[in-house]
C-alpha cells in the first residue's frame, strides 16, 4: 500500500453547497490526508474523467472543502457529483500563504476568493485589521459574501464589495478599487487571488507604494509535484515553488506574470482583459 501523498486517496463526498449558479463547494473528510495550509492545493481525480488542481477553500477540524467553478469537462464532472460519490485526492501540494501581521488588504476576484477564505480565518489571529475586497463580474457571480461578512467580526475589519456592472456593492474593477485603497491607506501586506491581469495591476500599484504582496497563481498542471514543468512561470513551478508567490519573486516574473500562461502543450497564451 502506497502511503505517499503523491497517490490519490479515495474519499467520499460528504456535502455539496451551491455558492452561485456556476460555483459549488464540495466537502470531504480529511482522514488520511495531511492537514493543508491556506493557499495549498489538491489534485482532484474524477475517475474516468480527469484530474485537476483545486485550492483548498475550507479547512475544518475533520473536514476539507474545495470550491469549483464550472469551466470545462473536469469541473462539470465535479458539479455533477452527489453526496456519497467518490473522488481521488492527492496532496496537499504547494507552499501556501505566509501569515503576516499589521493591517492587511485581501483582494479576491471571482472564484479567486476560494483560497483566501481559509487565509482570512488564520489572519484574524495575527493581524490588526483586515480589509477584504470581494469582487465579481455581477451579483450573480459574487460568492462567499455571507461567509466573509460572518467572519469579519472585529471592529477594525472591513468588507468592500465590487462588481463590474454595479449590481452589488461598488461599480468598477477590483484592481481600480484596490489601487485606490492602496493609495489612500497604508497596508502592511496584500494578499490576492483572481484574474492575473487584476493581480498584476495591483502588484504594480503595491510596488509603487512599497507594499509587499502574496499572489496565488494558476497554471496548467499535470504532475503537481515538480517533475514535468507544465506549470512553469519563468524559472519557477506553480506546483512546487507556488502557487503563492511573493513580491520578491514576482519582480523576477515581470515578463510572464499577468502577461501569458501556457496551454497543455507548453505554447504561450496571452492573457486578455
Amino acid at each position: 500500500m502506497v502511503t505517499s501523498m503523491n497517490y490519490p486517496r479515495i474519499v467520499e463526498v460528504k456535502e455539496i453547497v451551491e455558492e452561485a449558479y456556476d460555483v459549488k463547494s464540495i466537502f470531504f473528510s480529511q482522514r488520511g490526508l495531511k492537514k493543508p495550509k491556506a493557499g495549498q492545493f489538491f489534485m482532484i481525480w474524477i475517475p474516468g474523467i480527469d484530474e485537476v488542481p483545486m485550492s483548498v477553500s475550507f479547512i475544518g477540524e475533520n473536514e476539507l472543502g474545495i470550491t469549483v467553478k464550472k469551466v470545462g469537462e473536469a469541473t462539470a464532472a465535479l458539479h455533477s457529483l452527489s453526496v456519497g460519490d467518490k473522488i481521488g485526492v492527492r496532496g496537499p501540494f504547494g507552499n501556501g500563504f505566509t501569515l503576516s501581521d499589521g493591517d492587511v488588504l485581501i483582494v479576491g476576484g471571482g472564484i479567486g476568493i476560494a483560497p483566501l477564505y481559509p487565509l482570512i480565518m488564520d489572519l484574524l489571529n495575527t493581524t490588526d485589521s483586515i480589509t477584504v475586497v470581494l469582487a465579481a463580474k455581477n451579483n450573480k457571480m459574487l460568492i462567499f459574501l455571507d461567509k466573509i461578512s460572518n467572519i469579519l467580526r472585529r471592529e477594525c475589519d472591513s468588507l468592500v464589495v465590487v462588481t463590474d456592472d454595479g449590481s452589488a456593492g461598488l461599480r468598477g474593477l477590483a484592481s481600480d478599487i484596490a489601487a485606490k485603497l492602496i493609495e489612500e491607506k497604508s497596508y502592511d501586506h496584500i494578499y490576492m487571488c483572481g484574474p492575473e491581469i487584476m493581480m498584476r495591476k495591483i502588484f504594480d500599484k503595491a510596488e509603487e507604494k512599497g507594499v509587499e504582496v502574496q499572489a496565488c497563481l494558476e497554471r496548467y498542471m499535470k504532475c503537481g509535484i515538480g517533475l514535468c514543468g507544465s506549470c512553469c512561470i519563468g524559472e519557477y513551478l506553480v506546483c512546487k515553488d507556488g502557487p503563492v508567490f511573493n513580491s520578491e519573486i514576482l519582480r523576477k516574473l515581470k515578463d510572464e506574470f499577468g502577461v501569458f500562461k501556457r496551454d497543455s502543450s507548453g505554447l504561450p497564451i496571452e492573457f486578455s482583459s
Binding site: 475517475p47 467518490k86 481521488g88 517533475l227 514535468c228 512553469c232 496551454d263 507548453g266
Partner: protein, 320 residues
C-alpha cells in the same frame, strides 16, 4: 565482438595529489560535459528558462522534452502516479512543437552547458524535419526518442529495422551528434542497440521507462488516463544497469545510462556497467541540488579510490 573491456587503465590506489584534483569531464561523441550528469528528457524541459536553471544548478548537460513537428497537448490527467519504488507516468509527450520550441532552445543555451534536444515523430520524415530545425536552433546534439512506452513512436524502438531506418535517415541529414534512446521493453536490447549504431548513432541512451500500470483498488479503475505508463525511479535501476552492461559489450559508441538514479553511488554503478555519462529524471523530485550533490559525491569517491579521471571507471565491471 572484439571489444577490449575496461579501455581505461585501472589505477587503484594512485596518489592524486594534495589538492585532490579529480577530473569529472566527459566527452560523449564530441559533446563535452563538465561532469557526467544530465537532466533526462521529459523532466522540466518544457521551457528554456527551466533548462537554464537546471544547467545553473550543476547539470553537465540538459535534455529537452521530446519535441515533435506539431504541438502535442499530451494525455489528460492523471498523468503520473507514485508507486512504492518510483513513478508511473503517461504524459503523452506534451510539447509546444518544434517551430515554437526553437525559441526556447536559445534561452536554454544561456545555461552554458550542452543542450541536447529529444526528438520524436510519427514518421521517419517527421524525425528528420524536427531534427534539422533543432540543429538550426543551435542544439549541441539530438536524442532520438524511439522508446516512449506509452506513445506510438515507442514502437519504433521495439523493432530493429524501424530503428535503423529512423537513425539512418536523421544521420544522413544532420551534422551534430545523434544519440538514440532505447526501450527496455524488448526481448534483446543489444539487437536494437546494434541496429542504431549500424545506422550511425553516435551514442546510445539507455533506458527509457519500463511499461507499467497501476489500478486503484477502491474504484477498480486504472489510475492513469492512458491506462499504461512508464515506470521510472529506483525500481528500474537494476534493469537499466543490466541493459547498459549488455549494450557496452556490443557497441563501440558511448552509452548514456538512465534509470532510477538518486545518488552518486548509482552513478558510479552505471559508469562501471559501461555508461560514460548518466541522466537524472525522477530523482529531481528531491530538488535540483541532486546534480551538485552527486558531483560532490563522485569527486570524493574518485579521490578516495585514487582515480584522477572519472573516465577511468567506465566499464570497470567488464574487466577480465
Amino acid at each position: 565482438m572484439n571489444k577490449i573491456y575496461g579501455i581505461y587503465k585501472f589505477k587503484r590506489g594512485k596518489d592524486v595529489g594534495e589538492f585532490g584534483m579529480v577530473s569529472l569531464a566527459v566527452d560523449i561523441a564530441g559533446v563535452r560535459l563538465r561532469n557526467p550528469t544530465m537532466l533526462a528528457s521529459g523532466i522540466l524541459g518544457i521551457s528554456g528558462k527551466l533548462l537554464r536553471k537546471v544547467a545553473k544548478a550543476g547539470a553537465g548537460a540538459v535534455v529537452t522534452k521530446s519535441v515533435s513537428l506539431r504541438p502535442k497537448p499530451g494525455y489528460l490527467n492523471p498523468t503520473i502516479i507514485e508507486v512504492d519504488c518510483g513513478f508511473i507516468n503517461a504524459m503523452g509527450l506534451p510539447n509546444p512543437g518544434v517551430d515554437y520550441f526553437m525559441k526556447e532552445v536559445v534561452i536554454a543555451k544561456e545555461g552554458n552547458v550542452p543542450v541536447i534536444a529529444s526528438v520524436v515523430g510519427e514518421r521517419v520524415e517527421e524525425f528528420v524535419e524536427v531534427a534539422l530545425k533543432l540543429e538550426a536552433a543551435g542544439v549541441d546534439a539530438l536524442e532520438l526518442n524511439v522508446s516512449c512506452p506509452h506513445a506510438g513512436a515507442g514502437l519504433i524502438g521495439q523493432n530493429a529495422e524501424l530503428t535503423y531506418e529512423v537513425v539512418e535517415a536523421v544521420k544522413q541529414k544532420v551534422k551534430i551528434p545523434v544519440f538514440v534512446k532505447l526501450t527496455p521493453n524488448v526481448t534483446d536490447i543489444t539487437e536494437i542497440a546494434r541496429a542504431a549504431t549500424d545506422a550511425g548513432a553516435d551514442a546510445i541512451t539507455a533506458i527509457n521507462t519500463v511499461k507499467a500500470m497501476c489500478i486503484d483498488i477502491e474504484t477498480g479503475r486504472p489510475i492513469l488516463s492512458n491506462v499504461f505508463g512508464g515506470l521510472s525511479g529506483p525500481a528500474i535501476k537494476p534493469i537499466a544497469i543490466r541493459c547498459v552492461y549488455e549494450i557496452y559489450r556490443v557497441v563501440d559508441v558511448p552509452i548514456v545510462g538512465v534509470g532510477g538514479i538518486c545518488k552518486w553511488q548509482d552513478v558510479v554503478e552505471f559508469l562501471m556497467a559501461g555508461a560514460s555519462a548518466v541522466q537524472i529524471g525522477s530523482g529531481v523530485i528531491k530538488g535540483l541540488s541532486i546534480f551538485s550533490e552527486i558531483t560532490e559525491g563522485l569527486k570524493c569517491f574518485l579521490e578516495k579510490k585514487g582515480y584522477e579521471d572519472i573516465n577511468c571507471i567506465v566499464g570497470l565491471a567488464h574487466r577480465v
